[in-house]
Subunit: 159 residues, 2 copies
């Protein structure tokens, strides 16, 4: 029988990691070129690697990708799925902040396999305008519902 | 019998407005104080007023509120609910960009009524650390699924 550590026995770093690992979608925040300097949120498909770093498959035609080309500062917000009827803000969520950059050539095959394992339907994976990006967490903000929140260091999150 | 304009007969501005009107949650992107200048995504409950401007009820203890106090530049990402089994990125979504500021005293009663109409369970509405904020759209980015996207002007969106 599989046993899962109950949420209350997990540290905020562990809960953050669990939320990211399960997520298939997230909100990417980048810095807009126009209106210049505005934080720009967009919906992305995500998968995370064994170290908990999120992988994205982005089109260079998309706004967020052009924002990242200019400035790599980014964050990703991951939210737990709510059980039916639960209050809107009662679920856990985590924001990972860090630079988001193209995955280097030598790591692309691994990124592709990780991404496709989570998104078998990503038929756009071989479109010429799409490429893999990875966010390298430098900090994580965890919110565990009302009144429970903390900053989690990158070291704790990645451990 | 009620009839609804089919999505394809709607302009991108009309679809954007419809998505925002129906939404009860969104991702708020603000500019972080630390790591300084990073775009910071967080989950918020939203309601929109008759002009399509989003209203938020935020605690001054929250990261995003402290970010806004320093710099009001913000965006809100609204995503359509997907029908079961639909591809992850097939739904419509819209990002509204603009300054997000405290609702002026004389408009607070109206904001409260609008917000509570969408969030009857917002028991925190009268907590002393909570206050209403409104994002004033200066631009909107509409994405209608794969390969359909456009910038919508604030005038078109608010019309």
């Amino acid at each position: 029988m599989k046993r899962v550590t109950p949420p209350d026995a997990m540290t905020d770093a562990e809960r953050s990691r669990a939320i990211v690992t399960r997520a298939r979608a997230a909100t990417l925040s980048t810095v807009a070129r126009d209106p210049a300097g505005y934080p720009y949120g967009s919906l992305v498909a995500v998968a995370s690697d064994a170290a908990g770093r999120p992988l994205l498959l982005l089109s260079r035609l998309a706004e967020h990708t052009q924002n990242l080309a200019e400035r790599s500062d980014a964050s990703l917000l991951f939210a737990e799925e709510l059980v039916a009827g639960a209050p809107l803000l009662s679920g856990g969520r985590v924001t990972l902040l860090g630079p988001c950059r193209l995955v280097p050539e030598r790591e692309r095959a691994g990124a592709r396999a990780t991404f496709l394992a989570a998104h078998a339907d990503a038929t756009y994976v071989d479109f010429p305008d799409f490429a893999f990006y990875r966010l390298e967490p430098i900090a994580a903000r965890f919110v565990g519902g009302f009144g429970r929140m903390s900053w989690v260091s990158a070291d704790e999150y990645l451990a």
